[in-house]
């Protein structure tokens, strides 16, 4: 369709713009990886060693910026992200591959869970307006989502890990345990992920819940809902298939965007629970002026978000006939 084709072109242009900004922005920052290294060394590295490291890092500041940019575009196209500076000389791709599954797993799953739960509760809360669910849950969950995350995570560790001992206090699986595809390892992963997942879900349900509830209230006043009631359809069927399906449409775009941002990890979660994900890697890369790693992670996030927006647009076109073109007025 013409709409989708237009979206694709827009996608490619935005991607190129993002790549270009991704290249130039870190290089505009003051300092540089060599200066950062020098401060850490505090004078215990010879100037010759520093120079060789500069060359090895590829931070050759004498080379023309435009030539570097062309080189960068070519490397990206071939999937070559180079060697990390802060984890020198491990290839960036390798570092990313180690952190990616944990971020996708924890943040991806919790995003889906919090969206599903928030939408469901919002739907029910709007249907039974003034009822118990509507009076208690939205305000409570919205307040909880305003808690400072770091504090909330530490409280949960204090209560459930240090206090009751139900869950481990950090890491993705038991220390020293071999990484294997086995039930016991899966059990470990789930046990370790329970507390971080809980804290992330609880603090993000509030947003989904509110928007869904408000959309539902607007949808419930539509004529076709009244028609469905008059027809005598069961309340459950009306709530889910008639009102809910239409009310959730605006949220789909938001959901797709947040899926895209899953790859930026959850920095605070990873710090509090020592979870080996992408968020902390990104933070480290920025602090250590590790251009290759920074660029690779920014690229991942950008592509993911752009792809997510594209998917959201496609989904909207598929789900909502009103967006398809001029036939419907």
């Amino acid at each position: 369709m013409a709409v989708i084709a237009r979206r694709l072109v827009f996608f490619v242009i935005t991607l190129w713009a993002a790549l270009t900004i991704n290249f130039f922005l870190p290089r505009l920052m003051p300092g540089g990886p060599v200066l950062a290294m020098m401060s850490r060394f505090r004078g215990h590295v010879t100037p010759q060693a520093m120079r060789s490291l500069e060359l090895a890092f590829g931070v050759d500041i004498h080379e023309n910026l435009l030539a570097q940019y062309i080189q960068y575009l070519g490397d990206i196209a071939q999937g070559r992200f180079g060697l990390s500076v802060s984890f020198f000389p491990v290839p960036v791709a390798q570092i990313l591959m180690q952190a990616l599954p944990w971020t996708l797993g924890l943040i991806g799953v919790t995003t889906i869970i919090s969206f599903a739960l928030g939408t469901l509760i919002g739907m029910v809360a709007a249907w039974r307006r003034g009822g118990l669910a509507d009076s208690v849950l939205p305000p409570v969950l919205v307040v909880v989502s305003a808690f400072p995350y770091f504090w909330f995570g530490l409280i949960c560790i204090y209560l459930f890990s240090a206090g009751l001992g139900w869950f481990p206090s950090g890491f993705a699986y038991d220390l020293g345990s071999p990484v294997a595809l086995s039930w016991s390892f899966a059990g470990q992963v789930l046990r370790h992920a329970a507390l971080p997942a809980f804290t992330i879900t609880i603090t993000s349900i509030g947003g989904w819940l509110l928007t869904m509830r408000n959309n539902m209230i607007a949808t419930l006043s539509e004529d076709y809902v009244r028609m469905a009631r008059a027809k005598g359809l069961s309340p459950l069927r009306i709530m889910v298939l008639y009102a809910g399906r239409n009310a959730v449409l605006p949220n789909i775009t938001g959901f797709a965007l947040s899926l895209g941002f899953v790859l930026s990890g959850a920095l605070l979660t990873e710090i509090v629970f020592t979870y080996p994900g992408l968020g902390y890697l990104l933070y480290q890369a920025v602090v250590g002026e590790d251009y290759p790693l920074m660029q690779a992670i920014f690229l991942l996030i950008t592509v993911a978000v752009l792809a997510a927006v594209l998917l959201a647009d496609v989904a909207n076109v598929l789900l909502d006939p009103r967006t398809r073109g001029h036939q419907y007025r």
């Binding site: 950062a36 401060s39 850490r40 004078g43 984890f87 000389p89 993705a172 990484v179």
Partner: protein, 576 residues
């Protein structure tokens, strides 16, 4: 200072500086005499030592593991996790040795000898050492390692080839190195900070600068069993060259990315080797098990106020001397650093650990202490006049108003700087604090774009290294260019000559005399003001493992991120 990687004493450490091995120790006999290695054994009679146990190291690295065990990795984020665990150097030098304790202990070498005029250095290798793949360690491995470092300068993190001219094998078990003049203080760079690798493996890796060592083959007490970004598991090396050692079976080294989770684990588990900054350590850690839990924070290097000597009126010596009297170092230590970091001495000599280098009579003759009245009178004598606002002015009417830069992320540094600036304001010197990001701070400090700055340089096993870093004109650069460590831009032919003289002699009496003269430079010219002594973090419990280094028995630097001292500690720990 053993680990130059860790910037000691700040609550939020940016990264591990590469482990800086202690610099040359004062040889307590004449240079050309033979030195025999004394194997370090803890003073424990080995009566039925229990074997086994899993030790966990709890220290906040601020980074996840990259699982690259190459000992030549530039330590941007963390120390190579193979130093001391898997790879070992020729010698271990104990900077904390008390009188009567061995200072140097042979590891892969059993003895060394200086040639005439300290122009050659001959090591005799230890027989019977095997790599973890079964091959024997030979002199060829040592020669290969040094020559490989020479060929690829990026590997020379210790700076060994700044003083070496050649390394060659002699006979079957000796390695002869020829050196440039004045190389005696560089002994630790060569013997302790250069880790030996196997020729039969590293000769086939292509470019060692970019080689990722995933399955390291070393001579050390443990083998790498498993590495993930969140944890490294080491297991006992059954063929280690010290028979019977190590006693422990397993070591877990998790990658904690921030302090609170690490402190939580440390406060709960009794079998941990802690290297943590802990606020309120008495109530949070010690009180939970006071009979068995201890902590010891040995000094590492000073945290100083750097003064930009090229800017008037800071170039006036009297002003700098007055500033020393104005600062209440005890209060800075107590409030800024929880009392963990003791006040520093103006000589820059760490006390009490370097007491044998300290010229007390000289320091007392200057009489620096906290005395705001003396500071004010010194300023008045120097010709500054106090304005109506309470701030002193120069003769031209310019107020003594300066800015002090500090890294914003280091909360303890910021606290210290606040107290220093308050103290200076009380005596009529106005100081404004600029808390900058790490990069902006570095850029300004290195290029000399500041009035005052809070920072520190690395040290070594004698005060020589820290003071040379601070004062030698070879370590500085003109304003606008990047200086290595002498950021205050101190230049004096006198100081340079003293450091060279120190480096050229092995006579310990002469060295002490020269050190006294260097201390005089610090006392007289006040190029920087040492305020508190940065420390190494160390906590331990005797409930599960015993054999730790203690202030009474400091057989090694106890911090778990200090190599190769951790090698010695691993070999001495055992179950209770």
């Amino acid at each position: 200072m053993i680990g130059f990687l860790r910037i000691p004493g700040s609550a939020r450490r940016p990264a591990w500086p590469a482990a800086l091995l202690v610099a040359a120790i004062v040889l307590s006999s004449t240079g050309a005499g033979a030195r025999t290695a004394v194997a370090t054994r803890a003073a424990v009679a080995p009566v039925a030592i229990k074997r086994g146990g899993t030790l966990k190291i709890v220290t906040e690295l601020g980074a996840l593991w990259s699982c690259n065990f190459s000992p030549f990795v530039p330590p941007v984020n963390a120390t190579p996790d193979s130093w001391g665990f898997i790879y070992e150097p020729l010698y271990f030098v104990n900077g904390f040795a008390k009188p009567g304790m061995p200072v140097e202990t042979g590891m892969l070498a059993t003895s060394y000898r200086w040639g005439a005029g300290a122009r050659t250095l001959t090591f005799t290798l230890r027989p019977g050492v095997r790599w973890s793949d079964g091959q024997p360690l030979t002199a060829a491995d040592v020669v290969f390692t040094f020559n490989m470092i020479k060929k690829y300068p990026a590997l020379d993190l210790a700076g060994a080839w700044q003083v070496l001219t050649s390394v060659a094998q002699q006979g079957t078990d000796k390695v002869v190195m020829t050196l440039k003049p004045g190389a005696v203080p560089s002994f630790p760079s060569i013997a302790e900070q250069t880790y030996i690798v196997a020729q039969h493996i590293w000769s086939r890796v292509g470019n060692p600068t970019t080689y990722v060592d995933k399955a390291p083959v070393g001579t050390g007490p443990v083998l790498m069993q498993q590495c993930t970004p969140q944890n490294i598991t080491y297991v006992r090396n059954p063929d280690y060259w010290q028979p019977g050692r190590p006693y422990i079976d397993k070591i877990l080294f998790p990658a904690y990315t921030s302090n609170p989770p690490a402190n939580l684990d440390l406060s709960r588990d009794p079998g941990d080797w802690g290297g943590q900054f802990m606020p309120s350590i008495q109530s949070y850690y010690i009180a939970k098990d006071p009979q068995y839990r201890h902590y010891w924070f040995p000094p590492a290097s000073n945290n100083d106020v750097f003064i930009n000597l090229t800017r008037a009126p800071l170039s006036a010596r009297a002003l700098r001397q007055a500033m020393v009297y104005a600062i209440d170092k005890q209060r800075v230590s107590l409030i800024g650093e929880y009392g963990y970091e003791p006040p520093a001495d103006q000589t820059g000599v760490l006390l009490p650990v370097f007491g044998r280098w300290y010229d007390k009579a000289l320091a007392d003759s200057y009489g620096y202490r906290y005395d705001p009245q003396k500071a004010i009178s010194l300023l008045q004598q120097a010709g500054f006049t106090r304005g109506s606002s309470g701030i002193f002015q120069t003769k031209d009417g310019k107020p003594l108003s300066f800015s002090m830069i500090v890294i914003a992320g280091n909360t303890d540094s910021v606290a210290c700087v606040k107290i220093v600036s308050d103290d200076l304001r009380k005596v009529g010197i106005d100081v404004k604090i600029e808390a900058l990001s790490g990069d902006a701070f570095n850029a300004r400090l290195f290029t000399g774009d500041y009035d005052l700055a809070w920072s520190g340089v690395g040290g070594g096993i004698t005060p020589y290294y820290e003071l040379r870093n601070l004062l030698d004109s070879a370590n500085t650069a003109p304003i606008g260019k990047t200086a290595a460590t002498n950021w205050e831009r101190y230049r004096s032919a006198e100081a340079d000559g003293l450091f060279d003289a120190f480096a050229h002699t092995t006579d310990s009496a002469k060295q002490r005399k020269i050190m006294g003269q260097i201390e005089n430079v610090m006392l007289r010219d006040v190029p920087v003001i040492p305020v508190v002594q940065g420390v190494w973090w160390f906590q331990w419990s005797d409930r599960v493992f015993v054999g730790w280094p203690t202030p009474q028995n400091p057989y090694a630097n106890p911090c778990p991120y200090c190599a190769p001292d951790l090698d010695i500690v691993i070999n001495n720990l055992h179950l209770r």
